[in-house]
């Protein structure tokens, strides 16, 4: 006990000295600092996607902070690791609202973290712009501070089934990854496909990441016209690859989680000709998207992950809103939240404008087809269809 006590005392002394001597970095100059926080998993199994969000935001800040800096503000990015865990996300959220300089949060990756965390932001009407949470609940709560630049599960599922119908697919097999995102889209795809008269001959979820053989065996026996995978490319790519290796001839389709050059890097020629839906246009068709990809590659020497573009747009909107709020000379969180809803932004993922709930008013969706097995030619993917769809009307 004595020894423990001694150690505790020494540590206490050290802490006390440090508190007094280590000054917290205070606001240095000008009108002060505006901080943009990101919250996404930076460690653990989903770190790659989480980092994409952080990097997208970082690129946007570096590129677009000019006007604010000219006006005398210092603009900084504060990345938080939410570890994809709700309790960590909430603690971070409390930490974020305690930092008065943080005016907006870009995040999260997981709806499971976003929902409880946004309850915390709400207390101070701190704006959160989500690049990735497609779960309808995120905006259906009608919080004044929560908006999202990504689509909704219900919309994207519908885009998919609409297209599948047009492709003359009579039977479809739906697989999803058992996450809120993947299953959400798959559910809506299935429901809408059935409504449109397509035959859904299988609907299954799996957390498996590597070995899809046992799942593919019955699919092969049932031989559907189209297989829809609701999930992210790192699971979808091995799935499709193994499916082709196993000799399946069906058409493949997936949501925007498949929109990554890594899809072809992993699955190679297996996914050539596959369809995916996306709100972000391909680089070849949209010059903005092309320059984003180029700049991203130049800065971070890799291709942007899914949601990096959304994070970029979200940050751009955030900065615009802050600029608008800053015109009064003083930036408040309520102001920024309110301004975000007024921003009209023409971003990489199309024209963005929010409705009263924080959803995109009308979103332009693309259906794209993978053109080449070479990952560096991901940008060549062709738009095979464009759809403009508004978020679903309020249900009671």
């Amino acid at each position: 006990m004595t020894r423990t006590l001694r150690i505790v005392s020494i540590l206490l002394l050290a802490a006390a000295v440090a508190v007094v001597t280590v000054p917290m970095a205070g606001d240095a100059h000008g009108k002060g600092t505006i901080k943009v926080a990101t919250q996404s998993p930076l460690s653990g199994g989903q770190a790659a996607l989480g980092e994409g969000i952080k990097l997208g935001a970082q690129l946007a800040i570096d590129k677009l902070k000019g006007p604010l800096e000219k006006a005398g503000w210092k603009v900084e990015l504060v990345p938080f690791d939410d570890q994809a865990k709700p309790d960590v996300g909430v603690a971070n959220a409390k930490n974020i609202i305690a930092d008065k300089d943080i005016m907006v949060v870009i995040g999260h990756l997981n709806s499971g973290v976003a929902i409880p965390s946004s309850e915390v932001y709400k207390e101070q009407t701190l704006a959160m712009i989500s690049p990735a949470n497609t779960n309808p609940t995120v905006t259906d709560r009608k919080l004044p501070n929560v908006s999202r630049v990504c689509g909704r599960d219900d919309v994207q599922g519908v885009v998919g089934s609409e297209f599948a119908k047009g492709q003359n697919a009579k039977s479809v097999y739906v697989i999803h990854d058992k996450t809120a995102y993947g299953q959400g889209i798959a559910d809506f795809f299935k429901a809408d496909a059935e409504k449109k008269g397509l035959k859904v001959i299988g609907f299954e979820g799996t957390e498996e990441k590597s070995n899809f053989d046992p799942i593919l065996t019955p699919i092969k026996a049932k031989n559907p016209d189209l297989i829809y995978f609701g999930g992210i490319y790192d699971q979808g790519a091995p799935f499709f690859k193994q499916a082709r290796e196993k000799g399946l001839k069906s058409k493949f389709m997936g949501p925007d989680g498949m929109d990554s050059s890594d899809l072809t890097k992993i699955a190679g020629k297996a996914v050539v000709g596959m369809y995916y839906t996306s709100a972000a246009g391909p680089a070849s068709a949209l010059p903005k998207a092309k320059s984003f990809v180029d700049e991203f590659k130049k800065k971070f020497s890799k291709n942007p992950e899914p949601y990096a573009a959304e994070a970029y747009d979200a940050t751009a909107i955030a900065l615009k809103a802050v600029e608008a709020a800053a015109k009064s000379g003083k930036v408040t969180r309520e102001d920024v939240s309110a301004q975000i809803r007024k921003v009209k932004h023409s971003g990489i993922t199309g024209d963005i404008e929010f409705d009263g709930k924080g959803d995109r008013k009308k979103a332009l969706y693309f259906v794209l087809q993978v053109a080449n097995e070479d990952p560096t030619k991901w940008g060549d993917n062709k738009i095979v269809k464009q759809l403009t769809i508004a978020p679903p009307a309020e249900k009671k």
């Binding site: 005392s9 930076l42 770190a47 938080f80 979820g205």
Partner: protein, 416 residues
């Protein structure tokens, strides 16, 4: 050496404790965002716990720190209140697991399953979700929350017994792997029971979950802190009473030597089941509180890693030790939510401020080396180093003398 002995003297320790409390409180008030200041405050609490002083004084000082100062600190910085609340939640979990692993010596790698059971029991009925199962009439009014604390307790305890009945005959690592399997089964069930009947809403989770009505117009964060604190206190009292009874002694006996314990008349299966049920019930209660606090739950909160985290708390603190479990929960939670985060934020600030270290501007640090990304790695190193240099934990269980005092008094009153 001499310094330590001086601290053991109440005359030095008491004023020092008070001083520390005041200084740390003042530090948090003047630097509300300083991680170190809050650490100083936590250290002061630990110091009070360890330093020599009369029991009532210690209790009074701790009460001042936890009941008065902590909520005030929370008013300066809600984040710290959140940390304190989460410390409380994990402390209760660690105390529950401490009964199973620390006292009864049964390795449980799926403990978080009971937490999940408790959380879902309130989440389903305390949200509109139950309408999908029963047709209508939900959510239950917020006041039901208090009843559900006991429902969570009962359901989790029942789950503990149901798991325990078939598997408690297994030894050591076989028991561990079965509990691990059970934990996974519960999580996967939660993830999948959205069809054929939608019980859990699968990965999409359940929201909004009702929060209990808050008395006296307290802010919710404060209320939630007090509620958790109250539950932790109850759990500690229950834990201590169990520990200082024939039940607790039977558990320890089983841990030390199962065969001898049985030969001395301890019914193994019943005692182990009781340990499982008690441990599980604490987790169940905290699950209910957690669900209400988060407003939203989904299966991601109940992964295997969470079970491992709680186990690490118990062992870091010192197996079988109540203060150890609380300290372990504090260390892991504070480390994870505060210290490591604080460190990476600090580095980030240095980077943004353009600090140059050894001629290398931090701003040029490649994004791969973002400090926030390696918190878990540091945590891993700390675990290994701790185990090597202090395997018995920070506050190992020690045989207590306090029963003597109790019974000595008893002795007098009865014999007179």
């Amino acid at each position: 050496m001499r310094g330590a002995r001086v601290i053991r003297r109440p005359l030095v320790a008491i004023p020092l404790s008070v001083l520390l409390l005041i200084v740390s409180g003042a530090a948090v008030a003047s630097f509300p965002r300083s991680v170190l200041a809050f650490l100083l405050f936590q250290g002061a609490i630990l110091f009070i716990y360890l330093a020599a002083m009369p029991g009532y004084l210690r209790a009074a000082l701790l009460a001042v720190a936890l009941l008065v100062m902590m909520p005030i600190i929370g008013a300066y910085n809600v984040y710290y209140l959140e940390i304190a609340t989460q410390v409380g939640i994990f402390a209760a979990l660690a105390l529950g697991l401490n009964i199973v692993v620390g006292l009864a010596g049964l390795l449980d790698l799926g403990y978080v399953a009971f937490f999940a059971v408790g959380a879902y029991s309130w989440a389903i009925f305390g949200s509109p979700h139950a309408n999908q199962i029963f047709g209508g009439g939900f959510p239950l009014a917020p006041g039901w929350f208090y009843l559900f604390i006991f429902v969570g307790l009962a359901v989790a305890a029942l789950a503990g017994v149901l798991l325990g009945l078939p598997v408690l005959r297994l030894h050591g690592d076989y028991l561990a792997i079965v509990t691990l399997g059970f934990g996974e089964v519960i999580r996967v069930l939660a993830n999948n029971l959205d069809k054929p009947i939608n019980f859990t809403n699968g990965p999409k989770g359940i929201t909004p979950i009702n929060r209990p009505p808050v008395p006296f117009g307290l802010p919710y964060a404060e209320y939630s802190y007090f509620l958790v604190l109250l539950i932790v206190l109850v759990v500690i009292v229950v834990n201590r009473r169990l520990e200082d009874s024939h039940i607790g002694r039977a558990w320890e006996a089983i841990r030390e030597d199962q065969v001898a314990a049985q030969a001395m008349g301890v019914p193994l299966v019943r005692a182990k089941l009781l340990a499982f049920a008690c441990g599980a019930s604490f987790a169940g209660v905290m699950g209910v509180v957690f669900a209400a606090k988060q407003v939203f739950i989904n299966p991601e909160s109940f992964t295997f890693l969470e079970s491992i985290g709680v186990l690490a708390m118990v062992i870091l603190g010192g197996m079988g030790s109540i203060p150890g479990a609380v300290l372990g929960a504090t260390i892991v939670t504070v480390l994870n939510l505060q210290v490591l985060k604080g460190l990476s934020l600090w580095l980030n600030e240095l980077k943004n401020a353009g600090v140059v270290i050894l001629g290398y501007p931090l701003a040029d640090l490649p994004t791969q080396l973002e400090p926030a990304k390696y918190e878990r790695m540091i945590f891993g190193v700390i675990l290994v180093v701790m185990m090597i240099f202090r395997p018995q934990g920070f506050l190992p269980a020690r045989r207590r003398q306090r029963e003597i005092e109790v019974t000595a008094e008893e002795h007098k009153t009865v014999t007179v």
